[in-house]
């Protein structure tokens, strides 16, 4: 076959050009002028099945209590609801809960639940139901990860009245209500939770606008309208149940296939839309775009301060000035990902931004590196100190960093080289990537973290978070250990004074930014593309997963 391949290679470009020509011909046919979505969508149409195509791996369990990742949250947002949520303005509001009060010492939380809400199996929502959910989350057998952490400060709980639950905390936690807004802490029917885990994973029972009808693995989760749905907070514009009859939740791992299925009208909405696809779709009037950045941390590169060369803050600062992030984002993300200069997502009201710290400035980088003793160069132009090259290992998880992000890292690698810094990018599967982190075998790393509220700062930068979990995982990847920072985070996380909370979290962010522990890139990207036949798309949960209660299909 050796003599065969060159011919094939010569034929490839010709075929590619031919294909491109045909595709362009197919796209250039003018689409009918589509109605604007969101605003003035017209009269709702009742009925129809919406097909959702997810690019994420199919969850192994539909109950987000088990494990607890974003793909689970996306689908569970249709059939489960949370105690709290965020309104369209991003304000935290009670949902299944009616109200909550905190004792003066911050150790007792009293939750009141709404009347008249039932799970789709007929069980009523009450304090005992919520208690059963929290117990389910805290039970090691459930193997909850995300929800377990969110409830970590709860010491004991008691249903004092039918609709009143009293929670005793080990230490004050002012992020508790924000935690309650996450789908990983969603409330399920206590009757259904008593089933085996296998049964509950296949069809969790909640209070949401839809319910799980069936799940055919590797094909689709079939959701149907909850005919008895009672919206906890009345919507004057939309009384009663959801407009859609059903949602078919499919899994199409290939980005190109997913987009092709949307164009072909086989599916009406896709997630994990990539920058190039979003740019292409912008020219297509039959396709709309929903940009819903996730809350919690921004996407950022962490600088491992626990070992050389980044144990020297000058070298960290030099690295930050040596890489041209803005140029890379401009060329690779087609305007879909605005630059971030904060440890927190732009949807977090308490985010603190410091753009002046992140200029691309090779001259400054050179001065800093010279001052730090990295003033010699080797044959390849890299800086050297005491015979060691200034070299940084950068393990990248191919399942967490999308192709555009991987390309961005390559561009940073190229600009860093001009300043004499070597970056060794190591593309890895998730297991191997976690393996590298557990062994402290990295200088740079980028790891997303979704959580509602600024308490994610404690997860990422408190010295407690450098202590690995039994699996070897730890979240403080810059490995900053600063007693002053810990004190700020502790106070910010426990105070009942909202002004103090804001002030302390701002100081904590300023501290990690000025300590050059991280290089913020952009918000955690969460883009959806949908057919213009789908109207009123845009409502999301507190973790930015879409909810389709208000959505309808134009006929």
């Amino acid at each position: 076959m050796k003599n065969v391949r060159p011919l094939a290679r010569r034929l490839f470009p010709a075929l590619t050009v031919l294909t491109a020509a045909l595709v362009l011909a197919g796209c250039s046919s003018p689409a009918d002028s589509a109605p604007e979505s969101g605003t003035d969508a017209g009269t709702p149409v009742i009925g129809g099945t919406m097909v959702y195509a997810s690019g994420d791996a199919e969850p192994t369990c539909l109950d987000p209590h088990v494990g607890g990742n974003y793909p689970q949250a996306l689908v569970a947002s249709q059939f489960l609801e949370t105690l709290y949520t965020k309104d369209a303005e991003g304000k935290l509001i009670p949902w299944l809960a009616e109200d909550s009060t905190v004792s003066e010492d911050g150790l007792t939380h009293t939750l009141t639940l709404r009347d008249g809400i039932s799970f789709t199996d007929g069980t009523a929502l009450d304090a005992a139901a919520v208690k059963a959910n929290f117990e389910h989350l805290l039970d090691p057998k459930t193997s909850s990860s995300t929800g377990y952490l969110a409830l970590g400060k709860i010491d004991s709980m008691k249903a004092t009245e039918t609709n009143t639950l009293e929670l005793k905390l080990k230490t004050p936690d002012n992020s508790l209500l924000e935690s309650f807004s996450m789908p990983w802490v969603a409330i399920e029917s206590p009757t259904a939770l008593k089933r085996s885990q296998e049964e509950n994973c296949a069809a969790p029972v909640g209070t949401g606008p839809f319910k799980v009808e069936s799940w055919k693995k590797q094909e689709a989760v079939n959701l149907i309208r909850n005919e008895d749905y009672v919206r906890p907070v009345a919507d004057p514009n939309h009384e009663g149940t959801a407009y859609l009859d059903a949602i078919t939740w499919r899994f199409i791992p290939e980005a190109a296939t997913r987009y092709a299925a949307l164009q072909a009208g086989e599916v009406q909405i896709i997630d994990n839309a990539q920058p190039d696809t979003i740019a292409a779709a912008a020219k297509n009037q039959a396709i709309e775009h929903l940009d819903a950045p996730r809350p919690g941390a921004s996407n950022r590169i962490e600088l491992n301060s626990s070992k050389a060369p980044f144990n020297d803050s000058k070298v960290r600062e030099a690295f930050i000035h040596a890489v041209n992030v803005d140029a890379g984002i401009d060329s690779l993300f087609f305007g879909t990902a605005p630059r971030s200069h904060s440890p927190l997502s732009s949807v977090e009201p308490l985010g603190f931004s410091a753009p002046s710290l992140f200029d691309y400035d090779p001259t400054k980088a050179a001065e800093l590196l010279d001052a730090a003793g990295w003033d010699e160069r080797d044959g390849q132009g890299y800086r050297v100190k005491d015979g060691t090259r200034l070299s940084l290992t950068f393990p990248v998880s191919t399942s967490q960093s999308v192709p555009a992000e991987q390309s961005l890292f390559e561009q940073l690698q190229a600009t860093a080289k001009e300043s004499g810094i070597e970056i060794k990018i190591n593309l890895l599967d998730l297991s191997s990537w976690y393996g590298k982190l557990a062994k402290n075998d990295y200088n740079l790393v980028s790891a997303p973290y979704t959580k509602v509220g600024p308490s994610v700062l404690s997860v990422l930068f408190h010295s407690d978070s450098t202590i690995p979990a039994p699996s070897g995982y730890f979240a403080n990847l810059s490995q900053v250990k600063d007693p002053a920072l810990d004190a700020l985070l502790d106070t910010a996380g426990s105070t009942l004074d909202t002004a103090e909370r804001q002030e302390k979290y701002a100081q904590a962010q300023k501290l990690v930014l000025e300590g050059h522990y991280l290089l913020p890139l952009y918000d955690q990207q969460n883009h959806f593309l949908y057919s213009s036949e789908l109207l009123n798309v845009g409502a999301t949960t507190a973790v930015a997963s879409p909810v389709f209660f208000d959505t309808w299909l134009a006929k």
Binding site: V23, A256, K439
Partner: protein
């Protein structure tokens, strides 16, 4: 004594068949053992704890109690040798274990997925055979230019990687023309693109090996004498040339089936089609050892079986070879 001499003559033939079967059986068991062993140790080379895979994948923040519970439940706290021997014993008794990620018996998971992949692979093999034979016949009958054209087509299709071909087919037939769905559903239309993606490269390979033999046979003296006997061109083609051309094709079909199974990993993922290949991919990512082992053993078993069958078919098609 004619009867006795008859049995004398037959005995070695039965012995030969038995020996052939025994050989295939022992060889097959060896292959299965090797596969199970390679996977058992290979998958443990990936860093990380299998208990984590059970508790929801890498980077899980499962508590120490939960991890310990999982280790005890799945026997992961035993020494590696014991685990290996236990797993071999279980496999030998037909117990494939419970999938870490899906939490259901592997045999059940496989049972659900095998039909989908089998339909895909068998259809692709049939289409590939039909295309290869058709192209071989058509190009031989249309002179030098036809030969060159046919050969060129085969070379190109044989060299095309599945993922590229799949993307091009989707762009052509789903996006640009809108004739076929890009996502494989259970409808016949949904099968066209995945089958074409698997069949085209295979047809190229089969066609290449068939064409030369076919051309040679078609111009050989026995074809000439058949024509002289007054046999029609179609008769010569069907009774003589094709039989010759089929031989290397049959010999390749065992290998071809294996390549179809590996191709299914790519094709099922791209066309979002349920099946063995797609679950193998997710099982490897999730470090789901029992499921990976199950899929691999099943593929290896199928491969061994198809090899034996193609060996048998080859013996039957070629009178010079001793039938078992």
């Amino acid at each position: 004594m004619t009867i006795a001499s008859d049995t004398d003559r037959r005995r070695p033939r039965i012995w030969g068949a038995a020996r052939w079967l025994l050989g295939k059986l022992v060889g097959g068991i060896f292959v299965l053992w090797a596969v199970a062993t390679a996977i058992f140790f290979g998958i443990r080379m990936i860093p990380g704890d299998p208990a984590e895979a059970i508790m929801g994948g890498p980077g899980s923040q499962a508590s120490a109690e939960a991890l310990a519970q999982a280790r005890a439940d799945y026997g992961l706290d035993e020494p590696l040798v014991i685990q290996y021997l236990t797993s071999l014993w279980r496999l030998a008794t037909g117990d494939l274990g419970t999938s870490y990620s899906l939490k259901s018996p592997v045999s059940e998971v496989l049972g659900e997925l095998v039909p989908a992949t089998l339909v895909l692979a068998v259809l692709a093999l049939l289409v590939a055979w039909a295309l290869a034979l058709g192209l071989a016949v058509a190009s031989t009958r249309s002179g030098k230019l036809g030969m060159a054209l046919g050969s060129g087509l085969e070379i190109v299709s044989a060299a095309v990687p599945h993922f590229w071909l799949a993307s091009v087919l989707i762009m052509f037939f789903a996006t640009a023309l809108g004739w076929l769905p890009p996502v494989s559903t259970n409808s016949p239309a949904g099968l066209v693109l995945p089958v074409a993606t698997l069949a085209l490269p295979l047809a190229g390979f089969l066609g290449q090996v068939m064409r030369d033999t076919f051309d040679e046979a078609h111009r050989s003296s026995f074809a000439l004498s058949a024509r002289a006997r007054g046999e029609s061109e179609t008769g010569v083609l069907l009774r003589h040339s094709l039989r010759h051309a089929a031989l290397p094709g049959i010999a390749l079909s065992g290998w071809a089936f294996g390549s179809l199974l590996s191709g299914a990993v790519v094709v099922e993922s791209i066309f979002a089609r349920p099946g063995l290949g797609r679950s193998l991919l997710s099982a490897v990512t999730a470090r789901d050892i029992p499921l990976v082992t199950g899929v691999a053993l099943l593929s290896a078993g199928a491969y061994v079986l198809i090899m034996a069958l193609s060996d048998l078919a080859e013996r039957l098609a070629d009178p010079r070879m001793v039938a078992p």
